[in-house]
């Protein structure tokens, strides 16, 4: 009989602590959303390397919110300590109203600890380190003018800032929303954790979704803004870049940017360190580790914990909808300004520059460059714009890091 009662109590206890009683409707909606995102990641393969961990983090936190819970300290009396098998020795004691309480620390959830790398701005620069190891700045060095296009595509960030301010967001929040237009996940996360950490889930998910949707969003804008003649321009072949120039590039860029814009130094610094690993050719092992193992590990931590910030209560708000709409505007503006500056360069060079490479100025490496290549080939199948578009594309990475530095400085 005793056994049966014990069994019943145990089952009741498990039922009480189960999600069925503790979860609310927002959590269930978010579970649905996360399963839809898992479907997009696995079946449609939309940026699966990021979307899959993000979606699963989202699923977990809505099933078990305590996984993101911060550590706490509870005050227990000596009796309670004895009941709960907590040792009184070694714990700080406080006396309130004549009763001695012992401070008993409880530990945070798993994702709380992994999330510190996001919250403290550690993961995004490390991801930039890996990106630096994989980036070839050669096309940019051989055609430095493409940096103009990388700068032009950042204008969308600042215009979206205005939109966000007028929709009722604070300056700091508006800065974080605008940076979605940079189309650079790590930069967006880095800026958001510094300016508006409570919006991180919505902003990260908007940024990564739009990056995945680059091939769908960009071509109509590119075609609307250019003529058939402009799109069929065949560009001259780029000059080969010497090894010495490639080695000097990261060092010079980091000196320049870190001196003028210290706020961008963590991002640009790590990007250039990674690039120097690659170009110097003397630390092959480190370069491989940074772009493979390290980056993959960080991607897992970053993805799951960013997903875990999207708990139902945080995510299902009007602000999220506004952010997603503003993010789309930011992205389209970036593309449009890039193409328009491409047109200016087309005019200025007497028709030597194909304006389609301007849209690659939004970072999203190398997807945006591939889109330029594809749209160009639709007009002229023998036209290869890819390497020309890689110039503005990697310039966009530097540009959005600089824009991030400006935002952190002005509104942070």
């Amino acid at each position: 009989m005793e056994i049966l009662q014990g069994f019943m109590e145990a089952v009741q206890g498990i039922f009480k602590s189960s999600g069925i009683l503790t979860l609310n409707w927002q959590n269930y909606v978010m579970i649905g959303v996360s399963i839809f995102l898992l479907y997009l990641a696995i079946k449609k393969q939309y940026e699966p390397l990021l979307l899959l961990p993000i979606a699963f983090g989202m699923l977990l936190v809505n099933l078990y919110p305590a996984i993101m819970a911060p550590p706490t300290t509870e005050l227990l009396t000596a009796e309670q300590c004895a009941q709960q098998n907590v040792a009184t020795s070694g714990h700080a004691a406080t006396v309130i109203n004549g009763i001695t309480y012992y401070e008993n620390p409880t530990y945070g959830g798993l994702f709380y600890y992994l999330y510190q790398g996001v919250k403290l701005g550690i993961y995004p620069p490390l991801i930039f380190l890996g990106i630096g190891c994989m980036t070839d700045f050669g096309p940019l060095i051989s055609n430095p003018k493409s940096l103009i296009l990388g700068a032009a595509a950042q204008i969308g960030i600042f215009i979206t800032f205005t939109g966000a301010i007028f929709l009722g967001f604070t300056e700091a929040e508006a800065g974080a929303i605008g940076i979605i237009g940079g189309a650079d996940g790590p930069t967006a996360i880095y800026v958001t954790t510094k300016l508006a950490p409570h919006l991180l889930g919505s902003i990260a998910i908007a940024a990564y979704s739009y990056m995945a949707l680059v091939p769908i969003i960009q071509p109509p804008i590119m075609k609307a803004l250019t003529t058939k003649k402009e799109r069929s321009v065949v560009m001259e072949q780029l000059r080969p870049v010497s090894k010495l120039e490639k080695i000097m590039f990261p060092v010079i860029v980091v000196i320049l940017i870190a001196i003028f814009l210290p706020d961008a130094a963590p991002l640009v610094g790590m990007l250039m360190l990674g690039n120097l690993f690659k170009e110097s050719g003397v630390v092959d092992r480190i370069a491989k580790a940074a772009q493979n193992e390290l980056m993959n590990i960080i991607t897992i931590f970053l993805g799951t914990t960013v997903g875990a910030t999207a708990s139902g209560q945080n995510f299902l708000t009007w602000d999220t909808l506004k952010i997603i709409a503003l993010g789309l505007i930011a992205f389209c503006m970036g593309t449009a300004f890039g193409v328009m500056f491409g047109k200016i360069m087309y005019k200025a060079t007497g028709g030597k520059v194909n304006p389609l490479i301007g849209s690659a100025g939004v970072s999203a490496v190398p997807m945006a460059a591939r889109v330029s290549q594809r749209v160009g080939q639709q007009e002229n199948p023998g036209n290869f714009l890819l390497m020309h578009a890689m110039g503005p594309n990697v310039a966009g990475v530097i540009g959005s890091a600089v824009a991030a530095g400006v935002l952190l400085n002005v509104v942070g």
């Binding site: 940096l147 950042q154 204008i155 215009i159 800032f161 300056e171 800065g175 320049l256 003028f260 540009g399």
Partner: protein, 143 residues
């Protein structure tokens, strides 16, 4: 109750229309100017240093060319190279193909500018002991 104390609080919570306009204009202007200024500065610097580097590399090349020309002038009929190199000691049982392959590997590693000599080619005697073999296997077996 003194409401003037509350005013700063209200300000931070909700910006007035004029403040919104000023703040946006400030950010757009700063952002535009700084981003373009930094990247244009970068363009100038890249142009400058690639000019210097290409100059320096061209100079090097010219010097090398000159040297080659000079050496040609001083010794119009170069002696056959083989006469300078003493005959290699090659063990019996090492075929000429193996010697050729080893020489080619050495040449490709050192390049033709550096002088590398192969003095002898020997067959390694015996081979590893069973224990050494086991050690090598342990370290090279695929994970």
């Amino acid at each position: 109750m003194n409401f003037s104390n509350l005013m700063p609080l209200l300000h931070t919570a909700e910006l007035s229309l004029a403040e919104k306009g000023i703040s946006s204009a400030k950010v757009i202007l700063t952002g535009f100017v700084v981003v373009f200024a930094v990247l244009i500065l970068l363009i100038l610097i890249i142009n400058l240093y690639s000019f210097i580097v290409s100059k320096a590399l061209n100079n090097d090349k010219n010097k090398k060319k000159q040297k080659i020309v000079e050496t040609k002038n001083t010794s119009p009929v170069p002696k056959p190279v083989t006469s300078k190199i003493p005959a290699q000691k090659v063990d019996d049982g090492v075929s000429e193909e193996v010697v050729a392959v080893i020489s080619a590997a050495v040449a490709s590693m050192y390049g033709y500018s550096e002088k590398a000599k192969i003095k002898s080619i020997k067959k390694s005697s015996g081979g590893r002991s069973a224990w050494a073999n086991a050690g090598v296997l342990e370290n090279t077996r695929p994970f």
